[in-house]
């Protein structure tokens, strides 16, 4: 670069002064928030590429003790989605003992052994959602017809911390189920975890994954309600865009 295009000394001094001993550009709170959001988005599959699986951010599955209890509040659509998931699970495994509030570790999830339940697309959504419940065997129904999902649970103080990495790991598993066209298993895994230990740090991402699973199952009313719930608290951002496009919602920009 020729001399004539170099900066003058006063301008260089200005740049040196601006560049001197840069302090932290992000406050600790923002720094933590960004990292959390990145891990959450990665776990939810936002921006995923073929190399995502090989990402070095592999976190160990810490494992949660069986019977882990947390307070669960269920109502409305969320409840029916949970029931759907519960019903799907129990309809495929009627011999299962009354379900303890346990966390299914990824390795325990049946791989490809469970077909999505038959649904009648013309039937009302509510009946489609609840239909598998009626197919639960009498024994199972007697023991667990009022699923524990309906009950509030108490928190055990001995529980190990449910870390961000734990939540990310579960969501990654959910994402893999969805990618493998196994939405029922994805929904079931989401609900099993939620009922045992709700997502805290990645709650929004879990809600988005629920929308995707419900869409894939064509539980449209459930999906719409879950999507609206998600968008009410998270109207913008990459996940919101994906939720809007999930199965029937149009991007506001597209409507203009």
């Amino acid at each position: 670069m020729s001399k004539e295009h170099e900066l003058s000394e006063p301008t260089k001094a200005l740049l040196r002064a601006a560049n001197a001993e840069q302090p932290e550009a992000l406050s600790p709170e923002v720094r933590s928030r960004i990292k959390l959001a990145v891990v959450a988005a990665a776990a939810a599959g936002v921006g995923a590429t073929a190399s995502a699986k090989a990402s070095p951010l592999h976190v160990p599955w810490l494992g949660l003790s069986k019977g882990a209890m947390v307070a669960v509040t269920t109502s409305g659509v969320v409840m029916s989605a949970a029931l759907a998931s519960w019903a799907l699970h129990h309809s495929e495994a009627p011999e299962a003992s009354p379900a303890p509030a346990s966390v299914v570790q990824p390795a325990q999830v049946p791989q490809g052994s469970e077909a999505d339940p038959p649904v009648h697309r013309d039937a009302p959504v509510a009946s489609r959602v609840l239909e598998p419940v009626r197919r639960v065997s009498p024994v199972a129904t007697k023991e667990s017809a009022m699923p524990e999902l309906l009950q509030e649970r108490s928190v055990s103080v001995e529980e190990p911390a449910w870390s961000l990495q734990d939540e990310a790991r579960v969501l990654r598993q959910v994402q893999e189920f969805l990618r493998d066209q196994r939405p029922a298993e994805a929904l079931r895994l989401l609900d099993e975890h939620r009922n045992v230990r709700p997502f805290l740090q990645l709650r929004q991402e879990a809600q988005a994954q629920r929308v995707f699973a419900l869409c894939a199952l064509q539980f449209n009313a459930e999906a719409l309600a879950a999507a609206e719930m998600f968008l009410a608290s998270e109207p913008a951002g990459p996940l919101a865009e994906r939720v809007r496009h999930a199965c029937f919602l149009k991007n506001e920009d597209d409507q203009k």
Partner: protein, 185 residues
């Protein structure tokens, strides 16, 4: 080239470079209110790309490239929504900035903060293309070869833009310094 044995984990990458990415985004003209979003997108892209990082360039140069592309995409996206929006904001988001004034020498820190604000305002007077090359060369200290790698520009274009950017910045800086009679040590 063999894959570098010093490829960082995501945690290491984030801890070492989060502030750098945020600062670079700001200097590239990202409004203060969008810096968090751009930093997040940059590290999300880095998260997914890290497994394929082969160490052909330094981590920092690699991250420059990702930041450059994310900022460009972010800029295009906002330009579509509001063509006059980009580059108008020179606000400072107090939450984004760590406690300034820290340090042993308050006067020196005040000079740095003021110089930063001046430089930021002058950068916004440059076109986006020139601003990016200028920031990479003059503030981040990248060589023309590294800028070529980061931006994907031909070497001759890097030189041309850098020359034009220096002329522009010099013009605006000289004007500011003359008007304010301000001198920086």
């Amino acid at each position: 080239m063999e894959k570098s044995s010093s490829v960082p984990t995501f945690d290491e990458l984030y801890e070492a470079h989060a502030d750098f990415v945020a600062r670079l985004a700001r200097r590239m003209g990202v409004p203060a209110g969008d810096v968090e979003d751009v930093t997040q997108k940059t590290f999300l892209a880095a998260y997914h790309a890290l497994a394929a990082f082969e160490g052909r360039s330094s981590v920092k140069t690699w991250l420059y490239g990702i930041t450059f592309r994310v900022v460009s995409t972010h800029r295009r996206s906002h330009r579509r929504k509001s063509p006059s929006w980009w580059g108008r904001h020179s606000d400072v988001d107090p939450e984004l900035l760590a406690a300034n004034g820290a340090g042993d020498d308050p006067h020196r820190e005040a000079v740095r903060v003021q110089a930063n604000e001046v430089v930021q305002s002058l950068l916004l007077k440059l076109s986006e293309e020139r601003r990016t090359v200028f920031v990479l060369a003059e503030l981040e200290g990248l060589s023309p070869a590294e800028i070529e790698e980061v931006t994907g520009l031909e070497r001759v274009a890097v030189y041309a833009r850098l020359r034009a950017a220096r002329e522009d910045f010099e013009h605006h800086a000289a004007k500011f310094l003359a008007q304010t009679s301000r001198r920086f040590p």
